[in-house]
Each structure stands twice: as C-alpha cells, then as structure tokens.
Subunit: 380 residues, 4 copies
Amino acid sequence: MIGGGPGSFIGDIHAKAAQLDGGVSLVAGAFSSSREKSMERGRQLCLNPNRVYGSLEEMIERELRLPIDERIDFATIATPNHLHYPAARALLNAGFHVVCDKPMTLNLAEARSLQRLVRSKPKLVFALTHNYTGYPMVKLARDLARQKHLGKILKVVVQYPQGWLIEPIEKKGSKQAQWRTDPKRAGKAGSMGDIGTHAANLVEYITCLRITELCADLGAVIPGRKLDDDGNCLLRFNNGARGVLIASQIAAGELNGLRIRIYGEKGHFYWRQETPETLDFCACDGCITTYRRGTDAIPRLSAAAAAATRLPFGHPEGFYEAFATLYRNVAETIRARKAGKEPSPIHLDFPTVDDGMRGMEFIETVVESNRRQRWIAWNK
Amino acid sequence: MIGGGPGSFIGDIHAKAAQLDGGVSLVAGAFSSSREKSMERGRQLCLNPNRVYGSLEEMIERELRLPIDERIDFATIATPNHLHYPAARALLNAGFHVVCDKPMTLNLAEARSLQRLVRSKPKLVFALTHNYTGYPMVKLARDLARQKHLGKILKVVVQYPQGWLIEPIEKKGSKQAQWRTDPKRAGKAGSMGDIGTHAANLVEYITCLRITELCADLGAVIPGRKLDDDGNCLLRFNNGARGVLIASQIAAGELNGLRIRIYGEKGHFYWRQETPETLDFCACDGCITTYRRGTDAIPRLSAAAAAATRLPFGHPEGFYEAFATLYRNVAETIRARKAGKEPSPIHLDFPTVDDGMRGMEFIETVVESNRRQRWIAWNK
Amino acid sequence: MIGGGPGSFIGDIHAKAAQLDGGVSLVAGAFSSSREKSMERGRQLCLNPNRVYGSLEEMIERELRLPIDERIDFATIATPNHLHYPAARALLNAGFHVVCDKPMTLNLAEARSLQRLVRSKPKLVFALTHNYTGYPMVKLARDLARQKHLGKILKVVVQYPQGWLIEPIEKKGSKQAQWRTDPKRAGKAGSMGDIGTHAANLVEYITCLRITELCADLGAVIPGRKLDDDGNCLLRFNNGARGVLIASQIAAGELNGLRIRIYGEKGHFYWRQETPETLDFCACDGCITTYRRGTDAIPRLSAAAAAATRLPFGHPEGFYEAFATLYRNVAETIRARKAGKEPSPIHLDFPTVDDGMRGMEFIETVVESNRRQRWIAWNK
Amino acid sequence: MIGGGPGSFIGDIHAKAAQLDGGVSLVAGAFSSSREKSMERGRQLCLNPNRVYGSLEEMIERELRLPIDERIDFATIATPNHLHYPAARALLNAGFHVVCDKPMTLNLAEARSLQRLVRSKPKLVFALTHNYTGYPMVKLARDLARQKHLGKILKVVVQYPQGWLIEPIEKKGSKQAQWRTDPKRAGKAGSMGDIGTHAANLVEYITCLRITELCADLGAVIPGRKLDDDGNCLLRFNNGARGVLIASQIAAGELNGLRIRIYGEKGHFYWRQETPETLDFCACDGCITTYRRGTDAIPRLSAAAAAATRLPFGHPEGFYEAFATLYRNVAETIRARKAGKEPSPIHLDFPTVDDGMRGMEFIETVVESNRRQRWIAWNK
C-alpha cells in the first residue's frame, strides 16, 4: 500500500476491505512520506518491518529484489490525488498491478498519459476504487436495467450530499479537509472531484449510458475556499435522456447521502447508499417492489448481485463489503491472469482506467461549464 | 363555483375542501359551459336548481339580483387555465371575492392585467390555490426557518415528480391530459406550469427567499407533445443560495411526489407531500428530529402549524385538510372584512395575486431559459 | 347526533366524516345533557335551533312529529360508553337507524340485550364505528387474504400503542381521560376496551378468523387508575394460528400507533394506521411489494379498496376518509333499504351489532383472563 | 476454532469478524469431526496444515506442546449446541480462553456445571456470542437508558421473526435446519433457543432489568417438527414492567427481523437489527430523535457506542462489525489479563457465562411455561 498512513481515513478502509475475504494479504507498504510514520503504521498493522518502506521508490526497488513469489502482486494507491499519477506510473512500469483511489489523477493530461501507459501494458490490471459500484443492489439495478426492466431510460436524478465541510475545518486541523480543499493536491474540483465523480460513475455504471452534455453551477460556499464545496449539474445522455447531478459537502445534516433515481418507461429504481441492502422498483401501476440483498429472489435476477453477497439475508452488510467485492474482483482477475486463465465476467466487473478517464473528463467539463456558465458538450 | 363539472378532478376537491370545516357552503355554480352538464353536477351536489347556471355571465347576473345576504360571497374558479382570467375579471368587477386555481392565467399579459385589477380593489380577496402551503408541517418549516433554525439558507432541492403522463393518455380520452397538454388551454408550459409552479411557490413560501436566476432544461418526452412533460432547473436565490427544481409528469412509478430539502448552516429540513404529517430536521451533529403534526411540541414552535390541525396526533390528515385550511383562511379573511375587522395574521396566510404573478413569471422565465439554453435573470 | 357536545373529540369527527361525501347532512342533535351546551354546539354547526334538543327523549319525540321525509333517518351515538345502550334502544324502538360508537355497551348484559333488539328489527341498520376497517388498504389486505394471497394464516401480531395517558391527565381536567378511566362510564376495561377492541376487530376483519382463546396480562400502570392502561395478550385462532395483541395508552412517544402483521404460508402483510396509504406484502422470496392507495394496481385486486378511494394516488387521504367510507356505506345501505332495494355488497361492508357483541366478549374475556392469570376460551 | 467446517454459516462469520480489526489471527482449528473436511477448511483459510486438527482433543494436545507464545490464546466454539459443553470444558481445563456460540449448552445441567467451572478459573475469559449487543446503537440505547433518558421503564416489546423455516428444509438437505430442529443437537427449544435467547439477552442488556416471570405459547407449526418453530411470550420484569417477546422462524417474508421497543415514562426507544445504524427515541412531546452511528452527537452520549465505530458516519456498518466488536473486546480483555493489567470497562463489555446461564434458564422456563400453559416464575 502506498499512503494510508496513521490517521488516514481511506487507507484503513482499503486494508480492511482488501483482506476481508481472505484472498489478499497486506504485506508491505510505504504508508507515509515520513519513514517514521510509515513504520508506525506498519507496526499497527503487524507487518514485517523489513517490508515497511520510507518511500515508493524504496518499496519498488526492494520488492523487486525479492523472489517473484514473495514479492507483492499489486499495490494500492491511497494518497492524496496529486500523488496518484507518479505512483501509478512507477508501479506499472515496475510490473505491478495497481489499485488506485479516485479521482484518478490531478489533471486531464496526467490521466491521458496514464491511460496510454495502462493500454500499453495489457497484462497489468489497473483498477479504480469507485467502490459504490461494489454494492450488490447496485449490481442488481445494473443487471435489471440491462434486462430492460425499466424500458428506455428517460431521466436520472443522482444526489451525493455530504455535510462534513459545512465548517471550515481545513483551518482547524483536519488533514482530510486540508488536502481536499487544496487545488494543488486535489485538482481542479473539490466536491465534484471527490464525490461528483462517484455519482457520475454510478449513473453510467447502472444505466450503461454516457453523459454527453452538462451544465454546471458550482459554488465555494464557505468563505476562503478555492474549490467548489457545492454544485448542481444538468445532464444529457447519449440516448436523449435528461438528468440532474447534485454533489455537495456543505449539505449540513447529510452524512454520506449518495442516492439515485433512474426513471424509464416502465417505472423507476431508487437506491440509497446509507441503506444499501434494498433496491426499490416503483412500477407504472403504482406498486413498489423492494428487492433485498441475499434473498432467494436475487440469484435469478443478477448473478453479479448474488456473487457480491457474503452474509445471509437480514444480516446487514455495508461499506466494507462493497469495497471488498471490488478488491475480490481485482484479486481474482490478477490470480486468473497469473494462472494464464481468462478471468470470469463476474470478476472483471471493476472500474478501469477508462472509468478513471471519464471521471477526469467529468471534472474538466463540469469546471469548464461552470466557468462559462453554459452547457458544454462532453467528449464529442 | 365556476368549472368543476362532472368528471372534474379538482372541482370536487374544491367543493369538499371548502366545506370541510363548516364555515363555507357551496350554494351556486356554473359548473360547465354545457347547461345540461352544469345542471347534472348541481343535482349531484343537491343544490337548489335555481342557482345552477349555464354560464358565468348568467351566474353573475342572477346572483347580483339576489338580496345581498343571500347571494354568494365568493366564487371558486376551477376551470382549465385559459378561462381563469376572464372569469376572475368578471367576478371581481361584479364585486365578488375570488379563489382561483393555479397557474393564475394563460399568459403573463393576463397576469399583469389581473394583478392591476386586484390591486385596484383592495376590499376584495383574490386567493390562489397553491394548496401545498396549507400543510401544517410546511407551515412549521416556514416558521422554523424564520426563527433561524437553519441559520442562513445555502441550498434548496425541490422535486415534483409525477408519472401519470408516461403514456400519451391525452390521445386515449383523458380530459385531464387533453387540456393540460394543449398550449391553448394550459399556456406556455406543461409540467412546469402545472406542478413546477407549485414547487417554486413552495420553496419561496418556506424560505421567504426569491428565485432570481434560473437555467432550465425542458423536454417533451412523449412524442407528439407540444408542451414540456419533464424538466430540470438550476436555481439561484436572492441571498446567494443555489438550488435545483425538478418537475416531471413522465417520472414513471411516481405518484404525486413533491418533496423538498432546504439546507442551511445548521442542518436541513426534509418534507414529502406523500407523507405530509412529518417534518425532518437533520442537524449538523447528525441527529434527526422528526416533528409530527398535532403533537405537544408543535404549538410552541408554530402557531400557524397548530392552527392548521383538526385531528389529534396520530390520526392522519391529508390533502383535503391542507386544501381546507387554505379555504378556511380565505373565508375567515372575507368574514373579517365583511365585519369591518382586521383579519388575523393566521388567516391572512394564503397565496395572493402576487404569488400568482410570480408563478406566471416563473413559467415565462423557465420557458425562455430552455429556449435559449442558458441562464436567465428573473426580473428583480 | 347524540353526544358530541362542545369540546368532544369524536363528535366532531363523526360530523365531518358523515358529511364528507355529501350524501349525509347533520340536521338535528341532542349534543349534551345540558340544553345550553347542546344549543351552543348546534349554533357552531349552523343547525336550525328548532332541531337542537336538550335530551334524547325530546329529540325522539319531536322528530317523530315531523313529516316522515323531513325527520332524521338515522342517529349517531357519540357519548361515553355507559349511554350507548339506553340511547340505542330508544332510537331503535322509535324506528331510527343507529350508528353507535364502540365499545358497543357498558357491559355484556346490555350487549346481549341490544343484539336481541337489533335482530328483532331486521329493517333497521345498526352500525358500529370500528372506523379503522374503513381504510382502503385494510380492505385490500382483507380481499387479498380471502384470495389466498398469504396461503393459510399462521400468526398475527397486532399492536395498538398510544401514549396520551402516560400522565394522570384525568386528574388535570381532561374530560376525555376522565370518562375513559372511570369504570362507571367506560366499562370493565380501559385500554383494552377503548383500543384493544379496535385491534381485535381489525384482526378478525382482515383475516376472517375468530379468536378462540386468549391469555391476557393487564396493568394499571399509572397509580390510582382503576382500569387497565396497558395490556398484552396471547391469542389463538379458530384455524390454529397463534397471535399477540398489544394495547397500551401509556406507551410514551407513541401517537395512535395501530399496526398489524399477518403471517401466512406465502408471506406476510404489514399495515400501519399512521401511514395508512400503503400495504406491504413481504413474500417468501424476500421481495416486498408495497401497494399504494388509488393506483392502477388496486381495482383489479380489491373492489372494496377501489371504492373506498376519493382522491387520486399520491394525494394523501387519512382518518376522516376512512371514517367517511363507513358512513357512506351505512348511508347507502339505509338509502337502498328505503328504496326497497338490496344494498350492494360494497355498501354492506360496515361493522354490525355482531361485531359489537364480539368486542364486548373480547373485553369480558380479556379481563377475566387477566383476573385469573391464565388462558381462557372465548365462547366456542 | 472448533467447528465452522466447510459450508458452515456461523463459522465463517466468526473467522471474518474476529480478524476484522487486525488484533486476532486465526491460526489453528479443528473445523470438523472429519479430518478431511477439517483440512479442506484449513486450506480455504490458508492455515498452516500442521495446525489443522482432526479433533478437539488433538488440537488441545498438540497446541499445548507448542511454546507458550506460539500457541493459541483462545478458541472459538462454533459447533452445534450439543458440542458446546464438552468443548468448552476441555478447552478451559487446558487453560485456553473460550468464545462460545449461543445457546451456551444443550441443557441446564451442563450450563450449571460450566458456570461452576468458569467461576473456578477467574483468570480465563469465557465469552458468549450474543453478537447483537455489539451494535453501537444498542450500546447507545443501553447507555441512554442508564442515564435515565426514558425514566422508569414500563414496557418492552421485542420481536425476533425469521422466515427461513417456513418450508421443511430440514427434509431437503439443509444442514443448518437439520441440527437446529433436532432436540439431540439443539436442545429443548427450537426458535426460542436459537433466537429467543438473543431477544431475551438484548432486552436485559439494554434495560439492565431482569425477566422474573413469563407465560409462553410455543408451536411446532410445520408438521413433523419436534421443537418450536414459533412462539410468543408474555414477560414481567423485576421492576414491575410488562413485556412481550416474540420469536419465530416460520414468519414468512421476514429475514432477520430482530427489533425492540422499550417504553419508559419519558418516551421510548426503537431499534431494528436490519437497519442497525439508527436508534429512534420517541419522546412524550411527539418529537422523534434519530441517532445515527458515527455522528458527532454520539461520543458525548455513549463512550461504548463511540468505541464500537470503525467507519465514518454515513458509511454503513453491519453485522460483521458488531460481531467484531465483541471479539475485539474479548481479545483486548485477554491481552490485558496476559499483561497483568485491568481490562478497561469498554472492553469488559461482552456476554459472559452468566448471560449464558440466563439464556439456558430462559429456554427452560419458556418450555416449562408452554408445557403447563401458564405463568412461571423465573429464578426466584
């Protein structure tokens, strides 16, 4: 693991999620740019101190010296955004598979360069942790949508409100808030980069549609912020559907309120990340069907949703499990590749460099649309 | 009553709601442009046949011939939109108070003319049936917002999705759908006129803010429609807040899903018309307080919410009661005026010609913004 | 109307509900044993003062002197329980149809006598206001259960918790609380009589089963109370199913929380009075279907549920409407009888003297079971 | 680990939960009475084959031969019930700490014997996996109840309905169902032993009250069952409060529906295992406060709830985390004891042999009450 030092929020999640199913072990890390902090984190994790490194470069160099069956297979990049690109490039060039946090890079140029690099190394896996696609009920929605359960999709409303930046906590010592509100480390966008990209990815994942135009209105609501902490976006899709995307980190009273409604000719889906075990389908005749994870009804509707389930129905799964499914899929894909086998379609279901590229384009387009206060075509 | 003939949806609601509290009696009506249908409706309502008329003109003429204490005090206009203005004008000029359905008129010119007329007759009441403002929990939200419960308001998301026009039922005999999709009878906007105006009014009612700019994206999703049946709108408010307004009548699986979140510095409100008896306040510390209509907590927070309550807590009230509160307020205001008294502030709480004017401007601005596909300032 | 004087809770509900649909008019009343208060209530209701009476006897005598097409058709008894029986007897003997509040009488002996009287007058309607059976979604549950939607019914859990008696408000001037906690006016049971009878009736109405044995544990939790203010009951049904019935008026924080789960071989129903517009069916395969009042799905499932609907879907109905449906059914039955026609099955769907008898037996059995602290068979 | 062989439901949960926080490693096991299956499970778990054993006896013998700092510290017993007691006895006698699944033993005699044994070895930890007490919101409820948030507790309604035994799946190859419906392996009670004990434990954990009397009605609803698959119970508590406990495994359409309402003088709590992240407090004034795990409000209310939190608010935790908290507390207690320190109160918060004893008494009392169809005093 790269990053995820003491006090890191997402680093610990990566570690627990990756290891939940027992197919992955965290054995080495460069957890911090401070060797001392890196060692401290290594001790917390009970790692062999010889495999806790003071820098990425050291890690790569020393891991490569290990016999091939002892060295790490892949590395997770859980640093602030500006370090994603150099780390990913170095790791890929050294022959390691990569799991990278989102957004993929600091800017579009880096993203393009990384996309080229990944494409040039077809044997290496590059995965992006759009972890919300790991929820079984999200996979169910995607599969039902593919099976034309909704008919043609006409409208999408996706909201991702959080409230944790309603106070200027970046001025009060929150490291999380500091880098996420700093353009040098976070990139061009704040909320839209951090969580808007998740929302856009979720929409495209479930619907298999592409956003083709958007009109954004962003604000830095808390005085002194250089990046957006709140934004609303009108969307248009490649099939003509319309949509709205809302991302905010000053939505006081919200926790991690990602939720989505997808309207088609025959009804609509409703899913909420905070109660992720159910998916509602509201039909034209007024009946609502609530699907519940792990129940008998699921396997006949979605193999992916069934495969993403660990616990029996009624025993709640949550965030770790969704994240772990992403890791499991990556690990199984790497395992199949190492064994010279074709990975199963179930396991190939994780976000790739192309999703990362779309995320970076989304940020670029949103920021540009807001700057010009008008509709912008994406990617034509 | 003008309009509301056999088979009318809203006419029957007006009749039941107006009479629920016993302070209003429906005694006369011109329910249809067909004398026969008007008489039929009169019989349904057990009215004196001498006071069921074949036209508005006849009604005015004959009511004026009655002794002043026998004639009607006010008339409700529950016709399609294009008839609102001529009816309202004739009634006001004849000296009757008016309750008019929304949107107020067919177009902005009529609205301006009507506004002038109403202003010239300060003794007459002109009320518009933005009935959703009649819900006690909406009044509670407004009063709490005024008491700075939210702090400064930063963001608003209001949605009004319906699904009843997902099929082209205007081609299959639905009279409701026919006039509401016909620009000659409905005006410039479809969904945005019919329900978007309710949403805009609700936002302004609760927040006491004014929308000052908007950027709309409207669609006539079902082939052959001349008016929007779906639309999304970015908003800006006079205090700098941002917002989103969504109105759709092709949101399959939705019923009458008006819902609103209002975000401030200290938390946010959430209210849903389909479960109107509760208001959620989600605070910055993560606790949600759910207020419930009729409970002991309400009177100390909002006199208006308390006064809009008929049944004890836990005995659900709904749509009729909210509508009835609007009628009660209008009736009590007329009664006070007749008695030469000042109406109480509680009773003056109903939408006026100025709200109607804002609704017409909203329609105008939304349609113009959509036509030009850009932000439009709304006449400051 | 008999009873329902100034300040009465249920009297005003009867008046509004009866008249909601326009087929019933309140024209006469003996609202209080005080002539003055009766007149005051008559004025509130804008009644002809000649038809506001100082006593039931006076009302009967003077109404009978009116021409038959001017006199009242039926009378509603909305007094405390101890007055139900004498009022019902006098009215029936005078030839008037009767709508009576529940529980039907003060004790079982009165109930038996009344049942005999009603059976001896087959042309007269006697209806009991178990109003919760008036909700459309309750009727849907009943019809689906009859259609074997659940398969054999195996278990029932019905709860009716209220919290309004958590304080000894009968000592602080609450008239409602005074008579309801007074054995001389309320009868043998407190909570079990006031709301337990509703719960028992609801179970039997939906399931078409009969309770055959029960084991009750009642308490007078608030010191000084002579009647139960809290109780729990084990149930057995005539098909072998088991159940639980809970009724409490000291369940602090509850409003009017009647809710019921009915488990069968194929799944279970869940309905809550406080959000009465939906009925959930939770199937064995884990999917939940939520039925919503007024939607397209309803008429093909239940004619009774469809007929009990006034407003379009998504426009919430509540307590008044359910009550009004009971009155509409009674009024249409009386109308049919007057016209010498057979009432439609839809309109015959209201609680009768036999339901009232079961309610009184329920009270008797519950109290006896509690006294003896053991299971008691209920009249096989 | 003892038990939890291939295909075991609860064994895998123990393994994942124990290791989630990184403070526990599964290093050895006797997973099955078949050496082959035990080895298979060991391979799945990537264990050292030298530490996968064919029997408990072998495991104890060989582990004891290892140097003290290499051998296991504690063992988890995840077998069917009839094996709990011999395994626990052997392990404790060999000096190992024990984590045991519930119900604690096959019968009361074993339980008494085990209780004596545990009391005779004060240095050894014996923990029982009443895992539902591991949820943060359960701990919050307990702490708020202790702080008199409810006032005196007056009434408890706890339900634990499941539907997975609605079909006779024990006849169709379900191993889970086979042993759980077999008195020789499950003990005297079916549903009441498997899940009724959880419900009783949860009530006593949150309220700090003791059940002193009960009246049970149990059924073996599915033909051919020897043990109860459904049951209802009236309760009385040592402070005079009344209650109801419902446990069923034939409640079709339910998943794992443990839910509890605890009524006091000032309001009531409501918690549902299927949406475990929130706790509702419904106050006498009608307001509901919804507490949410991980939010800023929690630490000032409950140190135990705050300490049981891993993920930030809005990132759902579930069943594994609650289970893991129990393991963390056990592990930290063992760690403190090994280090000669006093464990912190936070870590001593896990169910002990005394809770196990109460569970066995509960089973005994419920079965006896049902057999005699009457109230039985518990433990006087």
